[in-house]
Symmetry: C2
């Protein structure tokens, strides 16, 4: 099989997450099986699917939701991946030590089990997304994993706004950038800004596909989750809309904003080579001139 003949079917599990962690994990397993039944050989789960999106408030009790990696959730998916001979991208609230937590991807590759870990590098902190309280920024750098069927680059949610993250992951050899995500609307902003926000989210990730000539897989949760203690109907309406973009930036498939969805897309990995031959961006990068990227700001213009 030449590089041009390689194909892989990727499954995206867009799910709603409830208050019972065991039920969430059970559902994630069940939907992973459904994706595999539809042919998927790589399955991607959304960010922190084991629980509601607890970062809507700062509450030390929520640290109880964390678990080690390896740990119960990665073990459960390691058993499943071995049984089904598939690769699974599993998002976990990682307890590394008391007082030290990460927003982590466990990369589980069939019979090989847990083959790698990525810790979310860019941590947001905005109203109802108080992640800096919970997660120490990743200290493992960017990651691409050679799995049985393709090279998978793992990134998480807020990372998706950073071209540097996509670029470095692609330079590491990733053929598919996978973004488990938990993003949605503030209900009070949805009418005025909602469509523009979601469109920006799609546009940004399509641009990563184009700039790097690779596939992008974005997997979001959906459904409304109230902000604990909010008396005013506040909370987040996660916007689903999980999608796959090809190396030319075209959207290959997309889930609705408001429904549980298992998407399975057949990815023709040869399209990466074709695209990069047509638009050879990697050839012309001015690596002699990019040093300023590691500056916070270039104050003297």
């Amino acid at each position: 099989m030449t590089d041009m003949d390689r194909k892989v079917a990727v499954g995206l599990v867009q799910m709603q997450c409830g208050t019972d962690s065991q039920l969430n994990v059970d559902k994630a397993i069940s939907l992973t099986r459904a994706a595999v039944a539809q042919g998927a050989r790589v399955v991607c789960l959304p960010e922190l699917f084991c629980s509601r999106y607890f970062c809507q408030r700062e509450d030390p009790a929520c640290f109880e939701l964390a678990e080690p990696v390896p740990g119960p959730t990665s073990d459960a998916f390691a058993r499943l991946a071995a049984e089904l001979d598939v690769t699974v991208v599993v998002s976990v609230f990682e307890r590394r030590a008391p007082g030290l937590y990460h927003n982590t991807i466990a990369l589980i590759d069939g019979a090989r089990g847990l083959t790698g870990v990525y810790r979310k590098m860019h941590i947001p902190d905005d109203p109802r997304y108080y992640e800096k309280y919970y997660f120490t920024p990743g200290d493992l750098g960017f990651k691409a994993f050679a799995t049985a069927r393709c090279n998978i680059g793992t990134l998480v949610c807020w990372d998706q706004w950073y071209p540097e993250a996509a670029r470095m992951t692609a330079l590491l050899g990733a053929e598919i950038l996978v973004y488990p995500t938990a993003i949605g609307w503030h209900p009070e902003e949805k009418l005025s800004h909602g469509e523009c926000q979601r469109d920006a989210w799609v546009t940004m990730q399509r641009a990563h596909a184009i700039a790097n000539g690779c596939f992008v897989v974005a997997v979001n949760r959906y459904g409304f989750e109230p902000a604990p203690g909010a008396a005013d109907g506040g909370g987040i309406e996660f916007w689903g809309s999980s999608f796959v973009a090809g190396p030319d930036g075209a959207i290959l498939c997309q889930a609705p904003s408001d429904a549980e969805t298992v998407l399975v897309a057949q990815l023709d990995l040869g399209a990466i080579t074709t695209q990069r031959h047509g638009w050879p961006f990697l050839r012309d990068r001015r690596i002699d001139a990019y040093g300023g990227i590691t500056s916070r700001f270039l104050d003297r213009s």
Copy 2:
């Protein structure tokens, strides 16, 4: 006037370029006047508007089209800019020495005249875009210029596919990224790939606006230019479609693909601050982890 009250009207001159350089310059001056008459205080001209897009073939005779900077074209626009008290972004085929040429922006700022130069950093080389034959890659780095009314970042065409270029220019303080451009369809590909290509071009540049929370102005030429000596109808159909994107990535206005157009857009520079407060991407960049951006490839994953 606070930062939030600053506004600037930007004019985009989308023009067709003929075989007579003097007529092209005369038209560019006339359309610049038209943009100013509609209120523009910054006017952007397309890439290499003084001539047909000569890079469709490699011909040493085309080096005769080059001129120094400062030189006749930048002088003409310096007189115009002083007369009208406007800023003009002027693309010039720069002759620096015999055998040393650049694809250059002359930044002309009202009575100050020629205030800066940017030399295209990323040089393409693809069928009918044989730019590596003509242009030495820029050696001045990325640039943002503090003009009378706003900070303008200058980039050119192929640069638009590089997130690094947009990022560094924004870090230099640019409020508006301006991309004079000459991009179009190969007629034989237009039906199968044309819409996807143009959409990728728009998407990529909108993503620069989003990632950096700044305005993007893309100014393209339009019209079919035959490839010299091509017996088969070959050539490039430049696709126009010049546009302005806001810091949230929304398209504020766009020209058609097939007509001479002067677009004037009122840019609310305060929207940059508002957007960056809402989505504070610059705050969270992992500058400790981006060193690999200056590598050609990160071969060991």
